[in-house]
């Protein structure tokens, strides 16, 4: 009998790539300093909400929200790593997207930055805050935006693995591999700038030709298929735009990185190192002014189907993220989830700290950067009272050192409007906003 289909008995190659911590790098000079300090926004999302035991519970100290509202607020354990930074931080409670309250408890990650209303078969998301900003300032940097998530890609509707959506409501695929991201940000390739120019010119005419040739094909496709082809064509056109932009960027070299960067190899099986790497990438991208907006979706709410769901277990905490969140109401579950909340916050604190220690223009990186962090669940499945943190942006007129609860009738989009104002981005409201949230500004 012919055995050609048998696999080679001796060798079977398995997935290569070994998870390792990365030697961290120092970033060298900046490419082309902007004339005035750039204004930036980093948005970070985590799924499943936080631990919220009652004030009489023996675990009350693990309630995510601070004690006492206003300026005299006191951090509890989950946020305690922010204490040294309290002058730069505002904690927000009570806010949510009204549209999200009508959606399934697992469905609201998609609209965290869009505030859009979508339900049922007519799934259509809106533009996300970061992409809205990118559309206005994206031309000023090499990359319009930096979109990252632990799971990568786009996921599926209501279980998106990205926070960012285009003006058409289409998901922007997130990058998940630190190595890949670093290559995009700082990779030089080996082509000289002239060769690169030629490549870009070729690319331009290739794309033109593809567009032209596809037109004749379109006529022979059914309606549904035409829509698929339209997606393809839209993508090609977008690349064309990008090629034009890149051609303009060509005379400006990418920022240089120390050699060690080439060894960048960490993945999601080491959650702490991985999250650090992702935050560090935002830091580097901002510091080098490679982009002004960045999003990072720490995890998505698909429970069993997401990589980040295993983060707590990888850290020795019992169970998966979803299970941890579910167990928060029972026994010492509040403390267990609280400890994980605490760990997530410490990563955020480290990031804010780094921004605050880096000088630029007349202040620090943090002074010109807004950091927006939170979840679209309070407790798991509960789509109101989002746990939110806003940090940085002193030069943008932000007021901090307070715990605010503007009320459950206030849509989260009002905060987005205020952030757009702070960044001087023209707008006509955002999603379902009803006004601004002036309390966060001086």
């Amino acid at each position: 009998m012919n055995k050609s289909w048998h696999l080679n008995r001796r060798t079977f190659l398995q997935g290569s790539g070994v998870a390792l911590a990365l030697p961290w790098m120092e970033c060298m000079s900046q490419a082309a300093p902007a004339k005035s300090a750039p204004k930036r926004l980093a948005s970070i999302y985590f799924p499943f909400g936080v631990s919220l035991p009652g004030s009489k519970s023996e675990y009350a100290q693990w309630n995510w929200f601070p004690e006492v509202t206003g300026e005299t607020f006191r951090f509890r354990k989950s946020l305690e790593s922010l204490e040294p930074l309290r002058e730069q931080v505002t904690v927000l409670g009570s806010l949510s997207h009204p549209a999200g309250r009508k959606m399934g408890g697992h469905d609201t990650g998609d609209i965290f930055l869009t505030g859009a209303s979508f339900r049922g078969a007519d799934y259509r998301n809106g533009i996300s805050l970061d992409q809205y900003i990118a559309n206005h300032v994206g031309e000023e940097t090499r990359f319009g935006s930096l979109v990252m998530s632990s799971d990568g890609g786009v996921g599926e509707p209501t279980r998106a693995t990205t926070l960012s959506f285009t003006a058409q409501g289409r998901p922007v695929p997130a990058l998940s591999s630190p190595r890949q991201i670093i290559d995009r940000l700082f990779g030089t390739g080996d082509a000289s700038s002239q060769a690169q120019r030629r490549l870009l010119k070729n690319t331009g005419s290739m794309l033109d030709l593809v567009l032209e040739n596809s037109r004749s094909m379109k006529n022979r496709l059914g309606r549904q298929d035409q829509r698929k082809l339209d997606d393809y064509l839209a993508s090609v056109r977008e690349i064309e735009q990008r090629v034009k932009r890149s051609t303009a960027w060509l005379d400006i070299p990418k920022p240089e990185m120390a050699e060690e960067v080439a060894n960048l190899a960490v993945d999601q099986s080491l959650p702490v190192e991985y999250m650090q790497a992702m935050y560090d990438l935002i830091f580097l991208a901002f510091q080098t002014d490679s982009t002004r907006v960045a999003t990072y979706m720490l995890g998505q709410v698909a429970g069993a189907t997401t990589i980040a769901n295993a983060f707590p277990a990888c850290l020795g905490l019992q169970g998966n993220w979803h299970g941890l969140a579910h167990g928060a109401g029972k026994g010492d579950g509040a403390e267990k989830l609280g400890r994980f909340d605490q760990l997530l916050t410490s990563q955020l604190s480290r990031f804010i700290q780094r921004l605050s220690e880096t000088q630029e223009y007349d202040g620090t990186l943090l002074d010109n950067t807004l950091v927006f962090y939170g979840s679209s669940n309070s407790k798991t499945h509960n789509n109101s009272n989002y746990p939110l943190i806003l940090a940085g942006g002193r030069s943008l007129g932000m007021k901090h050192n307070q715990f605010l609860t503007p009320g459950s009738h206030v849509p989260l989009s009002n905060l987005f409007v205020t952030l757009l104002d702070a960044m001087d981005i023209p707008h006509d409201g955002f999603a379902d906003s009803t006004g601004e949230l002036s309390e966060v500004r001086v």
């Binding site: 408890g105 890609g153 290739m206 997606d231 993508s235 090609v236 050699e259 169970g319 029972k330």
Partner: protein, 794 residues
């Protein structure tokens, strides 16, 4: 026999797919009266509560109130409606409303998703893209590495046209991948210098403090320092080694990694894992090949130059290190001895290499029309069909426009062919409508045409190989001979003989059975201290090999339900408590005794995926069986359902079965769960990692305690089964037809790359009957699918 089949066909016609139209009759006659009596007081014209139900459109298919109805269903299910102070809804009435709403919602969802029974113009999946480039260019490489990960369709398959979209980022990476691929395929200049180095001594005292050497026990590793290496191209690592295996110990497995040294951890990638036999007198020569650019390479001016080849013994357990000055006692573990490691690269069989000549033949280079010939031949293969002169001319025009400015002739050709590789005809499986060709009526009022010969060749090769057609399929299509049923049968047989058909086994099995789920479950070390994470991929491999065994050896697929053999390796045998098969490779082992193994439902993959990493999870196991094996998935749980509170002390003392019974005392839970839970109970004797157990395990206040377990279940069909063997018997005796039908549907869905619809039911039933008559033979089923009009029309 005839009698039995007639009955069977009758039951098969009772479709599990809901009819494609709203059932307003039931609403008027049965549902509305219930609503009137129990809901309209508040939710009617006189009431104050929102929504006003009398205004809701009961047509969920074309109406706008589907979501509101869905909310209503959830509230009724959760027992929130009617509220406690209103007249309670009696169970029978509740059931009427719930049943109607559930059917309508799922029917309406399906109708909205419908593509009219047509395969959607679909992009290649990442793995198909990778395989296609490999076959097109003749170079094995991970081309799809940078492409964004893909989403699953509702059926769990990755090759469903509806979920395969495209985005600018993806487009950008396609272009980059095309250029990269052609840079590998087409070479310039003279043959690069070949680096070659033989290493006989390991680097000593690496940074993790281990003593390295030429003997690989459970602690030591061999590190070959390679000073000169290429940065691209095929490399070869040749290892001379032998092993010393004490009696009763397994053959040791050796891992070969390539990586670099750094200050912290040393990144590396795996080249191969292999078992080592041989003896000191006659050592083995093991040869491994790969592409150097698949591995971490040092930077341009690194602190630690060079690369390292690291060899490890994966089998031997670490033995205690003797105290200083004391002699080392004889080892009782299987150890590997390394005589030498040879590194060579970049390797070419000749120059220019064959993959270059395949694209740029050496003859006629100077002749006019050479570029046309090159482009035309490449396009034909890339587009998987004959190409027209006009199509070729446009691409050649592009070539001519860039040729002068390009650095070399090869460079211009690379760019030109990259253009072909980002064209929709390559990236998508296109089956355009042919004007003027006759067709027959299909779904949604559209016409169905038969495939062209080349489209058929393409469907066939992506079904069986997840890649492009080979020359023989092209030739048959050119001669218009492929669509003949006898030829199709011959081709399926031939293609299954080819190693590429493992792509079918692997992709279909892992998507159908959700094997990627293994990596979504984290095993809690509090319960399973010694669980080896590497077992997870071996469990997936076991299931893939097992399905392969059934396919390639013409066994009945009922073996998937229960088999008297397993396909395992040493470590899985140890894990399952089965006798040692004597090999670290997967082999078929006939079971003697060991009744609790055999069939998919006793494999680690199924048992682990459907656990919570701590204990068995009967509900998940049940849902998996209903969904994957019987194609009867229960409705998804309503939002806000509480989890089982097994950590509550009063519950912790109960068996899981008993806990589930308590859970079902709530009517709203019961209506779904009485249909679900019993299907998972028979597997209670398997723990979360798939080992057999006689008693349960529970964690109370952080302490693991023994607990009773109960695997006796009364199925919704009325049958009683006691444990897994009994359940398997039940499945074979009473559910084999349903299983056959489910498999037909899953396989057809995969073969077509689209969700099956109402209009496909008749053909599915016919295929099922035929499948059963053919003694559940998988190969014959695949032939029948390929010969069916479902497969052959567009």
């Amino acid at each position: 026999m005839l009698h039995r089949i007639l009955i069977l066909t009758a039951t098969l016609l009772v479709s599990v797919v809901s009819a494609a139209e709203p059932d307003l009759k039931t609403f008027r006659s049965r549902v509305e009266p219930v609503l009137k009596q129990y809901c309209y007081d508040c939710h009617g014209p006189e009431g104050e509560a929102s929504p006003r139900m009398t205004l809701l459109d009961p047509d969920l298919y074309s109406g706008v109130d589907g979501e509101t109805w869905h909310d209503a269903l959830n509230r009724i299910n959760q027992g929130k409606m009617p509220p406690a102070d209103a007249e309670a809804l009696p169970e029978a009435e509740r059931q009427i409303v719930v049943d109607w709403l559930t059917t309508e919602i799922s029917g309406a969802t399906e109708a909205k998703r419908s593509t009219g029974g047509k395969v959607v113009f679909r992009r290649l999946t990442n793995y198909e893209y990778n395989n296609t480039l490999r076959d097109l260019l003749g170079i094995e490489f991970d081309y799809a590495e940078n492409l964004p990960p893909e989403s699953k369709s509702v059926d769990g398959f990755l090759n469903n046209g509806q979920v395969l979209g495209i985005s600018p980022l993806q487009m950008e990476y396609y272009l980059a991948a095309a250029r990269l691929a052609l840079n590998k395929a087409i070479v310039t200049g003279d043959q690069p210098e070949v680096f070659s180095q033989v290493v006989q001594k390991s680097i000593q005292g690496a940074r993790d403090n281990s003593v390295n050497g030429e003997m690989l026990d459970g602690r030591q590793q061999f590190i070959a320092g390679i000073t000169r290496f290429p940065r691209a191209g095929k490399i070869r690592v040749t290892v001379q080694a032998y092993s010393v295996i004490p009696d009763g110990k397994p053959v040791p497995e050796m891992e070969v990694n390539i990586g670099i040294r750094s200050d912290t951890l040393s990144p590396s990638g795996r080249l191969a894992v292999t078992e080592v036999v041989g003896s000191e007198a006659e050592p083995e020569t093991l040869v491994f090949e790969g592409r150097i650019e698949s591995f971490p390479l040092p930077g341009k001016n690194p602190k630690y130059p060079g690369i390292q080849i690291r060899l490890k013994n994966l089998t031997a357990l670490p033995e205690p290190v003797p105290k200083k000055g004391e002699p080392r006692p004889p080892s009782t573990e299987p150890n590997i001895y390394i005589k030498s490691v040879t590194f060579e690269g970049p390797i070419y069989d000749n120059w220019p290499p064959q993959h270059h000549i395949n694209i740029l033949p050496q003859e006629g280079v100077e002749e006019a029309g050479y570029v046309e010939r090159v482009v035309s031949e490449f396009m034909r293969r890339a587009f998987r069909r004959p190409v027209t002169k006009t199509e070729v001319a446009k691409i050649v025009d592009f070539h001519n426009s860039i040729a002068r400015e390009s650095e070399s002739f090869e460079d211009a050709i690379r760019e030109t062919l990259a253009l072909v590789l980002i064209s929709p005809e390559f990236l998508f499986l296109a089956e355009p409508i042919e004007p003027g060709k006759p067709g027959k009526p299909g779904g949604l009022g559209r016409k169905v045409q038969s495939l062209t010969e080349h489209e058929l060749a393409t469907r066939l090769s992506y079904f069986l190989w997840s890649s492009m057609p080979d020359q023989q399929l092209f030739d048959l299509a050119d001669k218009k001979k492929l669509s003949k049923p006898a030829e199709l049968e011959l081709q399926v047989e031939r293609m299954l003989e080819d190693e590429r058909s493992w792509q079918f086994v692997r992709n279909f099995t892992s998507q159908w059975l959700d094997l990627s789920g293994l990596h979504r479950i984290a095993i809690n070390p509090q319960y399973y201290k010694d669980f080896d994470e590497r077992l997870k991929s071996q469990m997936a491999e076991e299931t893939v090999r097992f399905v392969g065994e059934v396919l390639y050896h013409d066994l009945s697929v009922l073996n998937l339900l229960r088999s008297d053999f397993v396909v395992i390796n040493q470590s899985l045998a140890r894990h399952y408590g089965l006798p040692d098969p004597g090999s670290s490779q997967f082999v078929r082992v006939q079971l003697q005794g060991h009744e609790n193994r055999g069939g998919l439902m006793t494999q680690g993959s199924f048992l682990l995926i459907n656990s919570n990493g701590e204990d068995s999870h009967p509900i998940k196991r049940a849902v998996w069986i209903l969904d994957r094996l019987l194609d009867d998935p229960p409705a998804p749980p309503p939002p806000d359902v509480p989890a089982l509170e097994s950590e509550k002390e009063d519950l912790a003392s109960l068996t899981i079965k008993r806990q589930l019974e308590l859970h079902r005392e709530k009517a709203s839970c019961n209506s779904c769960h009485r249909q679900i839970d019993p299907w998972g109970i028979p597997f209670e004797n398997y723990d979360a990692i798939g080992r057999w157990r006689e008693t349960g395990l529970r964690l109370v206040r952080g302490q693991a305690v023994q607990a009773e377990l109960d695997s006796h279940a009364k199925l919704p069909t009325g049958a009683e089964v006691d444990g897994v063997v009994d359940f398997q018997k039940y499945m074979i005796e009473h559910e084999s037809e349903r299983f056959a039908r489910a498999l037909v549907k899953k396989l057809t869905t995969y073969a077509l790359g689209r969700t099956l619809e109402f209009t496909d039911e008749a053909e599915v039933s016919e295929l099922t009957t035929q499948f059963i008559n053919n003694q559940y033979n998988l190969k014959k089923l695949m032939i029948a699918i390929v010969q069916s009009s479902l497969f052959q029309s567009k």
